[in-house]
Symmetry: C2
Subunit: 388 residues, 2 copies
Amino acid sequence: MKSIIDRYERELVDSVIPFWESHCVDREHGGFLICLDRDGDPYDTTKHLWMQWRTVYMFAALAETRFAAGKRERWLELARQGFRFLVDHGRDAEGAYYFALNREGEPIVAPYSSGSDFFAVMGCTALFKATGDPECREAAIASLQTLLRRADNPKGRWNKRLAASTQWRAHDTCMATVNLGLVLGEGLGLAGLEGQVDEAIDTILERFWSEAHGVILENLGASFTPDLASPEGRTVCPGHGLESAWFILQHAEKNDRPDRIEKTCEVVRSTLEHGWDREFGGIYYFTDLLGKPPPELAWDMKLWWVHCEALVALLTGYRLTRDARLLEWFEAVDEWTWKHFPDRDYGEWFGYLNRRGEPTHMLKGGKWKTFFHLPRALLECIEQMEKL
Amino acid sequence: MKSIIDRYERELVDSVIPFWESHCVDREHGGFLICLDRDGDPYDTTKHLWMQWRTVYMFAALAETRFAAGKRERWLELARQGFRFLVDHGRDAEGAYYFALNREGEPIVAPYSSGSDFFAVMGCTALFKATGDPECREAAIASLQTLLRRADNPKGRWNKRLAASTQWRAHDTCMATVNLGLVLGEGLGLAGLEGQVDEAIDTILERFWSEAHGVILENLGASFTPDLASPEGRTVCPGHGLESAWFILQHAEKNDRPDRIEKTCEVVRSTLEHGWDREFGGIYYFTDLLGKPPPELAWDMKLWWVHCEALVALLTGYRLTRDARLLEWFEAVDEWTWKHFPDRDYGEWFGYLNRRGEPTHMLKGGKWKTFFHLPRALLECIEQMEKL
């Protein structure tokens, strides 16, 4: 185990963090340049709020770890300048975060997704936790209120679904609640959410988890029952299932719920059985539960974040149960992941591989990839292994 | 050439038309079931208006060809029942076509794209041409008016781009105008559009075509100049370039513009030089002009429609110029296409192949594939070869 911990630590400290520290800070306008090519050169200066706030979160969270020795103030300063830029430029008149700003901080894409507000809460909370700055706490609570206000219709007036459409219940909404609960509970000391978090976990384990099919369904019908007649209702996203699982495992450990731990480890094993590519290895991005055509063209690609979340889920589950099947799966996912994703020439990881594991994009950051899933997973994996 | 014509005819008559005739008609509710799996089994009953109207267009257009002998009335009836269903159920209070209806005809996705109206004009016009039914002509003109009303902001209130964003000029808007000009000129006898069509062609050949780079750019900045600092401005879609090219070639032939024919054949050759995959063959879906990361995950996939449009562009260009380089390209594209796309077991073609030419989806129809590009291309290719 020691050699695996070393490998994860070296990757975090020598490859991932230096890549982002060297390349992502916009010293001219503030905030971050996230759309970075293989060597760190920006290929787009658009500032997507999801990605900006995730980057604030990660620098702030890292500042609270042992890896921050001698670097804490530098990392906090990077997070703070991001916070400043985003709070000053990022919100519309009603307090919702836009989807994207241009480099100078002018809004260019409307706030059509409350994901921006979600990651603002996460980023502000992590920065408050690290600095104690009351402005960060206030900003976190303001965005939390925006998020709750938008809960019934997160896409707002950009929602294209009409009344006669199936009113889908989304797994990722529950997953986000559990994640928020973990971060807010620790960071802001708000206990009021606990009931909602508990309900979200039950909904995932009792409703979205289909024991009959051995997967978490991404979408349920209006009454939280499976609707397998349409592609939405048959969609499985193994990466989301695995990410949800480790949020639940950590919550169950803190709240002494061995029943949930056992069930969630079954979710992890079964999701991997379903999502693992037996021909080329790696975990699919999306599948159709019944093997019908998935709507996503790139369904069979292998994405870095899916593998990151799998590693965390497997190590957390193994530490809590010592189930040898989880360790075997960890070894398989670890081997495939480290063979295919790291970029040995320029540091950091490729994000997008084809089914065979060959990179289709050389980018290190983009509209949907930043300094987030990979360093968070490396940190979490190191912590799980150290506790073993 | 005779054996190639035979091959194209057999594919159209024995494989493509029977597949759709047997499987796509919704005899219970009207309209079409387009989301068909490999064997014709529907995997989704959503009725996307773009695809519905394209199907009306194709049955009506086919009824006007020599292949309709003994089948004309049957095909017109299929088009008519689609027309009836769509006109009765498809429009909102302002006359815009929704993006999607459910199987019963209730609107489920808002009219966020004027593409629905565009293909309504095409479908109604083709059906008017074949039947002379004044209701079809009226419906075509009504949707044309909707299209013109929406021209400044085709996405309406679902447009997420804000004022500070680059106001992109889209090549496909000009391409659609040229296509509409060809179909309306023939079908409705409306000459008023001719000036706009002429202007659209000039804009494509003088602005979107970048001689320096040898490609048609998908997006230009607000003043119709290249903006290569962002992914949008660097996007090349070879399939769109080739589709535009054959629309322009047919227009130029009718309007006696040899200057445009010569230039457009250069566009065709050069687009293929740029878009052809020299390692695995086939034409990429998208490229970044400067080789930076394309935003589309599936950029390196090989799509049926791209290859269909290439075949038409090459044969039309070759017939008009007898340029041997176009014939050589036709032979290469024809060989790759026929080797990889046709489904010899269930008929019709696979739509989505990975870079190596292996199908990633078994579907024959879906949200973006119906009875349209393939039969239209087979018809156009047969016509070009017969004239040779």
